[in-house]
């Protein structure tokens, strides 16, 4: 029997990096095959080669026994290769049916019927005439999957599909994929999540630094052995220590309601949270549920409209009308989600990038830049955080995503902030560096910084947070102590369950008293409260 797809000696070299080096890969019909590797291991490059987005420099691709050159994505689709992207390839201003009609032949009316049929048979509810911009990321993924299914592919490539799903959404996705595989469609499943691969996949090819290091049967491996294959060593464990908060509330968000300028954005309604000195509070939730809007209000990048209400306070002073710069002068620091353009300026050197937020830390005199001090500060940050780069004169844009993130987080930590807010600080950062960042956060907390951490990775939140909130459609749940809850419950809350029965489970909620107190005196500036 010949394989459905067979890669031999595939190499792809980019100017700065060898993305794939002599990769061999075989996929049988109906097989669910995992490609496992860290960010930057070459998984995405390999998928682009298979999907015809780019061409290999060396090696051959055999499709159903024939050697083929996959010229472009259209060619790949005509061969029967479909792909669901990590960053979706849907058009926001078109309806679901219009989007699908761009990839599948047929009139909108006949497609709408087929979409509903396929969606029903796989248990993936979709309304064909909905505009895509109004869908959540999970729903968009369903649209992409249905679009692929309608093309009747023989091979479906899934790129990190679970990163946009709540835990129970993962089960539904896996059921869909297994059903597809039973129907004879092979699935190439890209992930760095070991548990998922063990529960779903028949075989796994492990990539490291562009090379295949092993092809294994995941069910015969342990999470630890897979991790060792993937990163070449054991996953570093974060040393958790108990919080030692003195209870001074450093960051307080009180009944915040806000409708963003962007009509596709999420409105924040009645969000309250507080972070005391020496504690880490997390916000869990699927992206696109208002995290971005809430972070912009806290950082000062967006100001409350006249139609909005509520207060944001930093270190006891109300900051609603203050600019980001003024908030920073109160001891506030912020690491935004986007590194390029928001966290750092790609065309400036690391030195100037450190100047951006640290200019008050002795880097200027009489309005002039002290270049020696600036260079020294950047070099210190590079050294302290093990940033791999060409020194403080390297352009920020020349660093890999993970290294730039280490620099940005390090830059903000070096300010010794009293309040540090981070959005997705370890997204796209390799496992080792992510663990370093988490460790640094815990150490900063132990020195008394109040930290607010937004993350889509539940495991990360459980690893470092003392308490966590869940955000869903712009509404913030009350906080749960991480020691007293579990991934299951937070997962359910991530799809909005806290709205219907917020206190049905009998867990202790830190915010009960706070909510009651605030509703009586919403205008008062927040007074220090006793934290656990």
């Amino acid at each position: 029997m010949t394989e459905l797809l067979s890669l031999r000696g595939i190499s792809k070299v980019y100017p700065s990096v060898v993305a794939n080096d002599n990769v061999n890969l075989d996929i049988d019909e109906g097989e669910i095959h995992a490609i496992l590797g860290e960010n930057g291991a070459g998984k995405s490059t390999l998928m682009k080669l298979i999907y015809g987005v780019s061409q290999p420099d060396n090696g051959t691709i055999q499709w159903r026994g024939q050697t083929v050159t996959i010229k472009n994505p259209a060619h790949a689709r005509s061969l029967g290769i479909g792909m669901v992207f990590q960053h979706f390839s849907l058009f926001e201003t078109l309806t679901v049916a219009e989007n699908i009609s761009l990839a599948v032949n047929g009139s909108i009316a006949s497609l709408s019927k087929r979409i509903t049929d396929v969606a029903d048979s796989f248990g993936l509810p979709i309304a064909p005439d909905t505009m895509v911009h109004s869908l959540s990321v999970g729903e968009r993924q369903r649209v992409e999957i249905v679009r692929c299914i309608l093309q009747e592919p023989r091979l479906l490539i899934m790129d990190e599909p679970t990163s946009v799903l709540p835990p129970q959404g993962v089960d539904l996705l896996f059921a869909t994929l297994r059903k597809l595989a039973q129907g004879g469609c092979s699935i190439l499943y890209i992930s760095h999540k070991l548990e998922e691969i063990r529960s779903l996949c028949d075989n796994a090819t492990v990539l490291r630094d562009g090379k295949v290091v092993a092809t294994v049967t995941p069910t015969e491996e342990t999470t630890q052995s897979l991790a060792r294959l993937m990163i070449g060593r054991d996953i570093p464990v974060t040393r958790q220590q108990t919080a030692s908060s003195d209870g001074r509330v450093m960051l307080d968000v009180n009944q915040l309601s806000h409708t963003p300028e962007d009509p596709f954005g999420t409105s924040i309604s009645d969000a309250s949270l507080s972070v005391a000195a020496g504690e880490i509070v997390g916000i869990a939730g699927i992206s696109g549920n208002g995290q971005n809007e809430l972070m912009r209000l806290i950082s000062g990048e967006s100001l409350l409209h006249s139609s909005g209400s509520g207060t944001v306070s930093i270190n006891g002073s109300k900051v609603n009308r203050l600019s980001p710069e003024q908030r920073r002068q109160l001891g506030f620091a912020f690491v935004p989600e986007e590194r390029i353009g928001r966290g750092a300026v790609p065309d400036l050197s690391l030195g100037f990038n450190s100047l951006l937020t640290s200019h008050n830390a002795g880097l200027t005199r009489f309005g002039f830049i002290r270049f020696a001090a600036m260079a020294e500060r950047a070099q210190q940050c590079i050294k302290d955080n093990d940033v791999r780069c060409g020194g403080d004169n390297a352009l920020a844009g020349s660093l890999s995503g993970g290294n730039l993130q280490k620099f940005i987080v390090g830059r903000e930590m070096a300010l010794a902030p009293q309040v540090l807010v981070l959005s997705q600080p370890t997204w796209g950062v390799d496992v080792g560096a992510a663990a370093d960042i988490r460790q640094a956060l815990i150490e900063l907390r132990n020195k008394g910084t109040a930290i607010l951490l937004v993350s889509e990775e539940i495991e990360e939140l459980f690893e470092v947070c003392d308490r966590l909130h869940v955000i869903y459609e712009g509404k913030l749940s009350e906080s749960l102590r991480t020691a007293e809850t579990n991934v299951q419950q937070v997962g359910q809350w991530m799809s909005g369950q806290f709205l219907s029965s917020p206190r049905a489970d009998g867990l202790q909620h830190f915010d009960n008293q706070k909510a009651a107190g605030d509703s009586q005196s919403p205008a008062q500036s927040p007074s220090p409260r006793i934290a656990p």
């Binding site: 999907y51 472009n72 689709r77 078109l94 219009e98 761009l102 990839a103 300028e261 962007d262």
Partner: protein, 307 residues
């Protein structure tokens, strides 16, 4: 009074026609994600080419066809710069626009100041004799009706056809369009050439019907109004057409007011159509939701295929 109304309404349709042709073309270009600021130059090239060719051949159809061809060729230069070499679209648009103005002067050099008999208005007998309506609706030149048909056709194209979906998809996210297998460069190049041809026809309507003569600088900023119409009309063909008719109406009222000898500086009066059109459109396009839904997200951003 009725005469005045007929004068303004009938004139409005004629005055708006060049703008509508050019704006429908530019709408398709911008929907595909390309900002072409060279409309003024392309209209001028079309105006000169159409005039000269109609004069030489004696056929208005030859005039319009060669105007469309000449401006489409000029827009190909723009396409080569922006889609081919990924040049900045604003800078390339300005440069090609200036080039087009120069080309128009060159083409029309020997015809400067000459006139031509305008294309005939249709005559539907009794219908055209109807009071008010007859003159306004049933006694225009054929291109006026073609321009109205083009508004309907472009609306239908963009909203209801597969080709329209592809153009909008390319304009919103060229990367995503490429990833599902659409040729972004080809779609954009075709859109730009269509836009050029439409601007050429619009220009030719100026010299073959509206003011049947050739003079340098005759387009007089209409190309820029077209760019504004498309943006402030929030990329919707019917709104753009309304803007064009508003511009036409105010131009006509201005002529009338000047004729009556009111003591208003003529420079101010000449500026009125531009000012009023921009202000009115700016006010009706304030809804951010409408803008967001219709604005081509990748407008003005060069597209480099991700290898």
């Amino acid at each position: 009074m009725l005469d005045l109304l007929v004068f303004v309404l009938a004139g409005t349709l004629a005055a708006a026609t060049p703008l509508i042709f050019a704006a429908m073309g530019e709408l398709v270009v911008e929907k595909s994600g390309v900002l072409n600021l060279s409309i003024e130059g392309m209209m001028a090239t079309g105006a000169a080419t159409g005039f000269v060719m109609a004069k030489v051949s004696g056929s208005a159809i030859v005039g319009f066809a060669s105007a469309a061809l000449a401006s489409a060729l000029l827009s190909l230069v723009f396409a080569l710069l922006t889609v081919g070499f990924l040049a900045n679209q604003v800078a390339a648009g300005l440069a090609v626009g200036i080039l087009g103005l120069g080309v128009s002067v060159l083409i029309g050099k020997n015809y400067e100041g000459t006139t031509i008999s305008p294309i005939e208005k249709i005559d539907l007998g009794a219908l055209s004799e109807l009071p008010l309506l007859g003159k306004v609706i049933f006694a225009q030149d054929p291109m006026v009706y073609v321009s109205i048909a083009s508004v309907i056709a472009i609306t239908y194209l963009l909203k209801r056809t597969k080709l329209g979906l592809i153009i909008r998809a390319v304009g919103e996210s060229p990367d995503a369009a490429n990833s599902i297998g659409y040729p972004v460069v080809l779609v954009r190049t075709c859109a730009i050439m269509f836009g050029g041809a439409m601007a050429g026809i619009g220009g030719a309507h100026l010299t073959l019907s509206y003011t049947p003569l050739w003079a340098e600088g005759l387009v007089a900023g209409r190309g820029w109004i077209v760019v504004a119409l498309v943006v402030f009309g929030t990329w919707q063909a019917p709104r753009i057409a309304i803007g064009a008719y508003l511009f036409g109406a105010v131009s006509l009222i201005e002529l009338f007011v000047q004729g009556q000898g009111f003591a208003i500086p003529s420079q101010l009066m000449s500026a009125m159509p531009y000012i009023i059109t921009i202000v009115v459109l700016a006010i009706i396009s304030r809804n951010p939701r409408v803008v967001r839904l219709n604005h081509p997200a990748s407008l003005g951003i060069p597209y480099l295929r991700n290898e």
